[in-house]
């Protein structure tokens, strides 16, 4: 990944984090990383754990950003969420997995598209 795209991803995650804060969520972790992969955002909203995958794109040339989440990636998100719960001893916690797409367009404000409970 080039520095540019890394920066883009980080910016997107910040945008989504602030969107979640607006909704009244508390951000618990950002970029929680283990061997199997990374969770972009972990938040708590109304007692519920949210695991959020953020995809940022500057164009739809290669399809919608959320289309990049295929069945394999979805399975990994599930596993990562459970891994997080295990390491933080949150067994039995109510949780859901959300996805967010951030669309960057030159000269326009970035748009956040937030999908609840996708998996």
């Amino acid at each position: 990944m080039t520095k540019q795209t890394t920066q883009l991803g980080a910016d997107g995650e910040t945008l989504v984090a602030s969107y979640l804060k607006e909704q009244g969520a508390v951000i618990i972790a950002r970029n929680w990383r283990i061997k199997e992969g990374e969770i972009d955002l972990v938040a708590r909203l109304n007692g519920k754990l949210l695991f959020v995958e953020v995809k940022s794109r500057t164009s739809d040339k290669f399809g919608h950003p959320l289309e990049a989440i295929g069945p394999e990636k979805a399975l990994r998100l599930q596993r990562l969420a459970l891994a997080w719960i295990a390491t933080h001893d949150q067994w039995g916690a109510d949780y859901r997995i959300d996805c967010a797409a951030v669309h960057y367009r030159a000269g326009l404000k970035p748009i956040v598209e937030y999908r609840v409970g996708v998996l």
Partner: protein
């Protein structure tokens, strides 16, 4: 509301079932699930619909799309649901306003650029739609010819998705580009081209009148195929109802291109002798296609070199010969196709083909000759009333300048004779002489006293079986109808006896 519903038709054989196509768009990861037992071609609709929508200027919903085809238990196949799925998708998205389309059906495959491609089975689908009280059908322009004759349903022929969109939005009916109407195809052959062959010609005529199945035996090059090809031209033209039924079968098979829709000429189907049982009677895992015997419904099924057929292929015809129907059972369900045809078999007299007349040129052993025609099984031969020998034309016949009777002349005799028979059978469930049940034959349809005496004599000398006895009687009735005699006398019985015994085989 992110839910929309439109209707289409799924075909099971010739029977059409209304299919409700529901599209639901919900939040979630972009994805597309298609429910309702689709086959591979139908599953691929996702990619076609997606490209077609994008290339027609509409948006693909990057959300979770669920498409449900109900009744869910019915196996659905083919690409004809592309169009209804995309219309429902557009309505669910709000790209086009929701409209109540309960009395509309949509049929059509989409190309990636959004143009609407032809599908098979449009005619039977429309007939089913009429039965179900559907008022309007949207059909591919390339299939428009199939809907032209139907007045009970309004069909709108479309060539592009955008036309369908503007029809649903504003009721704009695309101008129908009149594609050239094909000439009503007459059989391209005429019986006058057949030189000589007086006896075989007679056999063809009797076969056409009474619906008697026919076996033509003769050496190669004598014109067996030529004569068989000319049988449709001497058969009475199909009635309107029959023509629609025949066209519907050909439509399901995707073979209407070979045949004009309003053609009244009985079909002629000649499968190769290496054909499989499946090709003969019909089959297929998901989409059950009619076989050769259904394609020949209302016409002639001609099998050249019949003894060369794989064992079982010819015998698979016994059920349709008996009932006029074929029932095909597969995982997808059981389908019944009509298969009421005139069976014409052609065979060489022996493996080398030269055993005729004195048979001097023949190199086969007597055992080979005997076995050759026995490859056609007894039960099947039983159902064949006429065995005609096709002889090598003589020098004088070939040189003769006089032309044989034309198909038109023979056909008018056939039509007249059939009318006589139809009148006789007014209160009976059958219409041709070949269908008279044996019991009726013995009671109501006896021949003259001397005719019966002749038959009884043959029976006594064991030259005729009980079955043969009935067959000769049926043939005699057909000959009587042809000759304008009210009931068969000795002459008709003798003539029939010759047709029946033309060659003694089994």
């Amino acid at each position: 509301m992110a839910l929309a519903r439109v209707k289409s038709i799924a075909l099971v054989g010739l029977r059409g079932e209304i299919v409700d196509i529901e599209v639901d768009i919900s939040d979630g990861l972009p994805g597309y699930s298609l429910l309702g037992l689709p086959d591979a071609a139908l599953l691929e609709s996702r990619e076609r619909v997606r490209s077609a929508l994008q290339n027609s200027g509409a948006l693909w919903p990057n959300k979770r799309v669920t498409v449900s085809l109900s009744p869910a238990w019915l196996h659905k196949s083919g690409s004809g649901f592309d169009l209804p799925i995309s219309i429902a998708l557009l309505m669910a998205q709000g790209e086009i306003p929701q409209r109540e389309l309960g009395d509309h059906i949509f049929l059509g495959e989409l190309a990636l650029d959004g143009s609407v491609r032809p599908i098979r089975g449009v005619l039977p689908a429309l007939l089913a739609a009429i039965d179900q009280g559907i008022s309007t059908a949207i059909v591919p322009l390339a299939n428009a010819a199939e809907s032209r004759g139907l007045t009970a349903i309004r069909s709108i022929a479309v060539s592009h998705l955008s036309q369908v969109i503007s029809f649903v939005e504003e009721g704009v009916i695309p101008e129908e580009v009149c594609d050239e109407v094909k000439e009503v195809s007459q059989s391209p052959f005429d019986l006058s081209e057949v030189v000589g062959q007086k006896r075989a010609r007679f056999a063809l005529e009797i076969s056409a009148i009474g619906g008697h199945h026919l076996l033509l035996i003769g050496p190669p090059g004598t014109g067996k195929t030529m004569m068989a090809e000319r049988i449709p031209s001497i058969m009475p033209p199909l009635t309107q109802a029959e023509a629609v039924e025949v066209a519907a079968i050909h439509s399901v098979a995707g073979a209407l291109r070979d045949r004009s829709l309003d053609s009244r000429t009985p079909p002629f189907v000649s499968p190769h002798h290496t054909t499989t049982t499946t090709a003969m009677v019909g089959g297929g895992a998901h989409f059950i296609k009619p076989g050769a015997c259904s394609m020949a419904h209302g016409g002639v099924l001609f099998i050249d070199e019949a003894p060369e057929c794989k064992p079982g292929v010819l015998d698979s015809l016994r059920q349709p010969l008996e009932s006029g129907l074929v029932a095909i059972s597969r995982a997808a369900g059981t389908v019944t196709f009509p298969a009421d045809f005139l069976l014409v078999l052609a065979a060489n007299p022996c493996p080398c083909g030269k055993f005729n007349g004195k048979g001097r040129a023949c190199t086969c052993s007597s055992l080979q000759i005997r076995r050759y025609l026995q490859r056609i099984s007894g039960p099947l031969l039983d159902r064949i009333d006429i065995r005609a020998f096709v002889e090598v034309p003589t020098r004088t016949e070939l040189a003769a300048s006089e032309v044989g009777e034309s198909s038109g002349v023979v056909r008018s005799r056939v039509i007249a004779a059939r009318a006589i028979a139809a009148e006789r059978f007014l209160n009976d469930p059958w219409t041709t002489n070949s269908q008279i049940p044996a019991s009726h034959l013995r009671e109501r349809f006896r021949a003259s006293r001397d005719g019966m005496a002749f038959l009884h004599n043959e029976l006594d000398h064991e030259r005729l079986s009980a079955r043969g006895y009935h067959k000769v009687m049926r043939l005699a009735w057909t000959i009587a109808d042809r000759n304008g005699v009210t009931s068969p006398g000795l002459a008709e019985i003798e003539s029939a006896y010759q047709l029946r015994q033309g060659v003694e085989i089994s």
